[in-house]
């Protein structure tokens, strides 16, 4: 372990897939696989900057600030908590789509970033290969049926 080496023990405790594979069937039982990538949010959003210090500016004006808030609460008593819940669930959903690179620390080596981009490329290639593989299988099935037909015709001719 350490900075230069990564291990399976460092995998995140929560994982949400960032890539999906869509399959669409072509003719003769061939299947085309294509990759869909979830877009990661910007790094600024992944790591919210912790605000240090007082949240309200001007402690001396605290009383008036509170009064304004109270007024707002009276005006919109039901909407306010609802909004809070929504934003919480949104942040929860967002936090699921974390860049896996973050499992291994904040400042990861450049090589690890290169590995990540290479593997992203590999995933696309894997989908292409899977498509080709189904084409081989489909062609093979077609060949088999045609061969059977041929043999049947030959038998009929012989009789």
């Amino acid at each position: 372990m350490g900075n230069k080496c990564v291990s399976a023990l460092q995998y995140g405790h929560e994982m949400a897939p960032l890539v999906y594979v869509k399959s669409s069937s072509l003719n003769k039982g061939q299947i085309e696989f294509c990759i869909e990538r979830q877009h990661l949010k910007l790094p600024e959003e992944t790591l919210p900057v912790e605000v240090i210090g007082p949240k309200e500016e001007g402690v001396r004006r605290r009383k008036t600030a509170q009064k304004i808030e109270e007024k707002n609460d009276v005006a919109l008593p039901e909407q306010a908590p609802h909004n809070n819940e929504k934003s919480e669930s949104e942040t929860k959903a967002k936090s699921q789509y974390q860049d896996p690179l973050r499992w291994f620390g904040v400042l990861v080596p450049q090589t690890l970033k290169q590995a990540q981009s290479s593997f992203k490329e590999v995933i696309k290639l894997a989908a292409d290969i899977a498509t080709l593989q189904t084409q081989i299988e489909a062609t093979r099935a077609e060949f088999r049926t045609l061969l059977e037909q041929k043999q049947n015709l030959q038998k009929q001719r012989d009789i």
Partner: protein, 119 residues
């Protein structure tokens, strides 16, 4: 689930799994069941085979990537899989380069042209 595509599962050594997880294929579902298996030295063949079969049975997996040297251990299970979804792809690993003559699909394809067929 309906609108989304399927997942990519990985059975491989630590380097392979880490790479693909970095690429973003990893998932832990509600039961905390992963869509990948890190094969270590002490991982038993039955465990690999059972995981492979459980991936085949899952309907949310579209492609299974498996290191070829691991595929060799459970060759009979891979040969038995004839469906096109999930597609099983044999991939090389760091220590074991890819050998096309071992690949189940390519062996099947070569078998297409056996001498018997041309009688």
């Amino acid at each position: 689930m309906a609108g989304r595509g399927k997942l990519i599962a990985v059975i491989g050594d630590e380097d392979t799994c880490t790479g693909f997880l970095l690429g973003g294929v990893g998932e832990l579902n509600k039961n905390r069941k992963p869509n990948f298996l890190v094969v270590e030295k002490d991982t038993s063949i039955t465990e690999i085979e059972e995981t492979f079969k459980s991936f085949l049975a899952r309907d949310d997996i579209g492609i299974i990537l498996i290191n070829q040297f691991i595929a060799e251990m459970i060759r009979h299970a891979i040969d038995a899989h004839m469906l096109s979804i999930p597609a099983v792809l044999e991939i090389p690993s760091k220590e074991h380069p890819y050998d096309a003559s071992k690949d189940s699909i390519l062996r099947r394809a070569k078998g297409m042209f056996s001498a018997e067929d041309f009688r």
